[in-house]
C-alpha cells in the first residue's frame, strides 16, 4: 500500500520571510513617492473611466503597489520587465512619464504605445518594459524568451515576468517553467497572487491552493513572499536576481497581495466580503511605508504634504497633456503592423 501523502506539502523555504535588510532613507522615500504616484494616477484613471474619457477594459493595480516598488528597488535599470494587462503601475514605476501612460489610456497618439495599445498594452523599449499583455498567461513564455536572448548574448540582465494567480493555471506556464529550469534562464517569475482571477478565488481553481508549489515539480527555487511590503519583495527579488546573474536560472515567487478594486472597472466584486477588503486596507503598503518613515524620522509630515502636492501636479499635468493631444489618424491602422515599410495591404 502507498503511504498517504498529504495534499499540502510545506517546504522549509516556503515560509513568508520578514525583511532582515536595513533599507536606507532614500529607499523608503523613493518607495513612498513611487507608490503614491501609482495610487493617485490610477484613482484619477478610475474617475476618468467613469466619465468615459478612458474606454475599453481598465484594470487597476490599487493595493498591489508594493510588489512593483520592491521589485524595482532590487533590480537594475537594464533588467527587463513584462506583465499582464494590469500594467499601469509597472509602466509608471519603470519611468515612463505619467503623461505618456495617461495619454495611452486616452488612446492619444502621444501615448507610450501611440494610442494603439490602450490600458492593457503599455510598452516602452527605452525603459525595458516589454509590455502589458491581454491573453492570460501569454506573457509567461515571452518573459522566458526575453531572458533567453540575454543569456544567448552573454549579458547579465534579469527578466522579471509577472502574472496573476489565475494565469498560473495556463498550460503555457508549465511548459515554460520546465524549459526555463532546463536551460537555467535568467528570469524571475512573479505570481502576483491577489487571491482572485476575476470572480474566482484561488481555492476554487485547484486542489492544491498553495500557489508556491507550482515551481516545485520543476525543482525551481520557490518562495512565498509578503507582497504588502516592499521590503520583503525587495529581498526576495534581490536574491533571485543574484541567482539568475550567477547563471543558476529562474526563481518562482508566490507574492501574496490584494487588489482593492474589482477585476476591471465593470466588476462589482460581489464574490468577496467587505471585511476581507477592509482587512487588507489596514495593511495598505503606502500607509505602512509612511508609518515606517515617520517612526524612523526619515521625514516629517511636511514632506508628505509636499509629495502629495507634487504628485497631484504630475497627475493633473498628465490629464491636461492627454486632453490636449490628438487621436492617431485612422490611417495609422496601417502603420506598425509590419516592420517592412511597403507592405501591400488589401484595401478593397
Amino acid at each position: 500500500m502507498l503511504c498517504a501523502v498529504p495534499n499540502f506539502v510545506s517546504f522549509a523555504t516556503l515560509f513568508i520571510k520578514m525583511a532582515k535588510t536595513k533599507f536606507t532613507k532614500e529607499t523608503y522615500l523613493n518607495w513612498y513617492e513611487q507608490m503614491l504616484l501609482m495610487r493617485r494616477f490610477e484613482e484619477k484613471a478610475a474617475q476618468l473611466y467613469g466619465q468615459q474619457k478612458i474606454k475599453g477594459f481598465c484594470h487597476l493595480y490599487i493595493g498591489q503597489e508594493a510588489v512593483v516598488a520592491g521589485t524595482l528597488s532590487a533590480t537594475r535599470k537594464d533588467d527587463r520587465h513584462i506583465t499582464a494587462y494590469r500594467d499601469h503601475a509597472h509602466a509608471i514605476a519603470l519611468g515612463i512619464p505619467s503623461r505618456e501612460v495617461m495619454a495611452e489610456l486616452y488612446g492619444k497618439v502621444t501615448g507610450c504605445s501611440k494610442g494603439k495599445g490602450g490600458s492593457m498594452h503599455m510598452f516602452s523599449k527605452e525603459h525595458n518594459f516589454f509590455g502589458g499583455h491581454g491573453i492570460v498567461g501569454g506573457q509567461i513564455p515571452l518573459g522566458a524568451g526575453i531572458a533567453l536572448a540575454d543569456q544567448y548574448r552573454g549579458g547579465d540582465q534579469v527578466t522579471i515576468c509577472s502574472f496573476g494567480d489565475g494565469a498560473a493555471r495556463q498550460g503555457a506556464l508549465h511548459e515554460t517553467f520546465n524549459m526555463a529550469m532546463l536551460w537555467k534562464l535568467p528570469v524571475i517569475f512573479i505570481c502576483e497572487n491577489n487571491g482572485y482571477a476575476m470572480g474566482t478565488s484561488v481555492e476554487r481553481t485547484t486542489n492544491a491552493p498553495d500557489m508556491s508549489i507550482i515551481g516545485k515539480g520543476y525543482d525551481m527555487p520557490s518562495f512565498v513572499v509578503d507582497g504588502m511590503h516592499p521590503e520583503t519583495v525587495h529581498e526576495a527579488i534581490a536574491e533571485a536576481a543574484e541567482r539568475a546573474r550567477k547563471g543558476e536560472g529562474p526563481t518562482y515567487l508566490d507574492v501574496r497581495t490584494y487588489r482593492y478594486r474589482g477585476h476591471s472597472m465593470s466588476d462589482p466584486a460581489k464574490y468577496r466580503t467587505k471585511e476581507e477588503v477592509e482587512e487588507y486596507k489596514k495593511k495598505d503598503p503606502i500607509e505602512v511605508v509612511k508609518a515606517t518613515i515617520l517612526k524612523q524620522k526619515f521625514a516629517a509630515e511636511a514632506w508628505f504634504d509636499e509629495v502629495e502636492a507634487k504628485i497631484e501636479g504630475i497627475v493633473a499635468e498628465a490629464v491636461e497633456f492627454s486632453e490636449n493631444s490628438p487621436y492617431p489618424d485612422g490611417s495609422e491602422l496601417y502603420t506598425d503592423v509590419y516592420a517592412e515599410p511597403n507592405y501591400p495591404y488589401i484595401t478593397e
Binding site: F57, G107, K116, G137, G330, S331, Y345
Partner: protein, 326 residues
Amino acid sequence: MRVIQFREALREAMTEEMKRDEQIFLMGEEVAEYNGAYKVSQGMLDEFGPKRIIDTPIAELGFAGIAVGAAMNGLRPIVEFMTFNFSLVAIDQVINAAAKMYQMSGGQFNIPMVFRGPTGSAGQLGAQHSQAFENWYANCPGLKVVVPSNPADAKGLLKSAIRDNDPVIFMESEQMYGDKGEVPEEEYLIPIGKAAVKREGTDVTIVSFGKIMKVALATAEALAAEGISCEVIDLMTVRPIDYDTIIQSVQKTNRLVIVEEAWPLASISTEISYMVQKKAFDYLDAPIHRICTADAPLGYAPTFVQEFLPNVERTTKAIKAVLYKA
C-alpha cells in the same frame, strides 16, 4: 409577442435543452458562481447545480479538450469561451480533436458538442481582444459554424446546435447580448445551414451575418428612401454556407455586396464571391463588392475603431458602385 434580450434567449435555449437531456452540461470560466462574464448563464447554477454548470480555471486548452473527451464518451458538452479570442489557446483541441475525431475513428466517435461565446470587436479593447474568427473556424471541415444576429434566431439556432451530433462553433457578440427582440414562448428550432432573406428587394443583394447584419439592414433602410431596393440575406450559418439562397437572390437582383467583420484575405465574403461568379456569372451585372474590416489588427484608439469596421456609409458606397450610381 414577448420581448427578451439576446442573452436571455441563449439562456433559454441552454436551459430548455438541459432539462430535456441529462447528458448536456455547461462549462467555462465564470459561468457558474459569477453567473457568466456577460450574464448569459445567470441563474443556471441555481437551477442545475455544480455538476452541470461547471466553473473552470483559466485553462482553455485543458477544458476544451476535457469537453471533447467527454463528448467521445457520450456526453453533450457546451463549452463557453469568455470570448473567442481566448479560444486560440484551445484551438488545438477544437481543430485537431473535435473536428477530426469522427473521420479518424472511421465514424465511431462523433463529437456532439457546442463551443460558444462572443466573437469580433466590442469597442476599444485593443488588438488581442478584437478579433473575428468566423472564417477561421469555417475553414475547417468537421466543424459547423453558426453566427446568429438577433435573439429569436439565437435561441432556435442554439437549440439546434446543442442537438446537433457534430461539433458546432456558436458565435455571439458582447455588443449583442443586451439587444432585445421578439422571441416566441413555444418551442421552436431553426435549422443549421439555412440562410434567411431578412428583407426583400429587387435592385441589389446584401449578404451579411451576425452583429454586422445591423449595418446591412440599416443601409437597406436608408437606401429605400433613395428608391434603391435592397434584398438582405442573413447567412446565420457560415459553415455550411447556404449558397442556394444567395444565388437565387443574385439571379433576381444581378448585383451582390457582402458585408462582414473579418480581415479580407480568405474571408467568408471571398468564398461567396468565388461561388457566385462560378455559379451565377451570367447573372451578374457588376463585379461583386465586399466590405470587410481593415486589413490590420484593431488598435485601441476610437479613430481606429471608426476606420476598421464596416458601416452604413461604406456599405452605401459599395451598393452605389455595383449599381453604377456615383
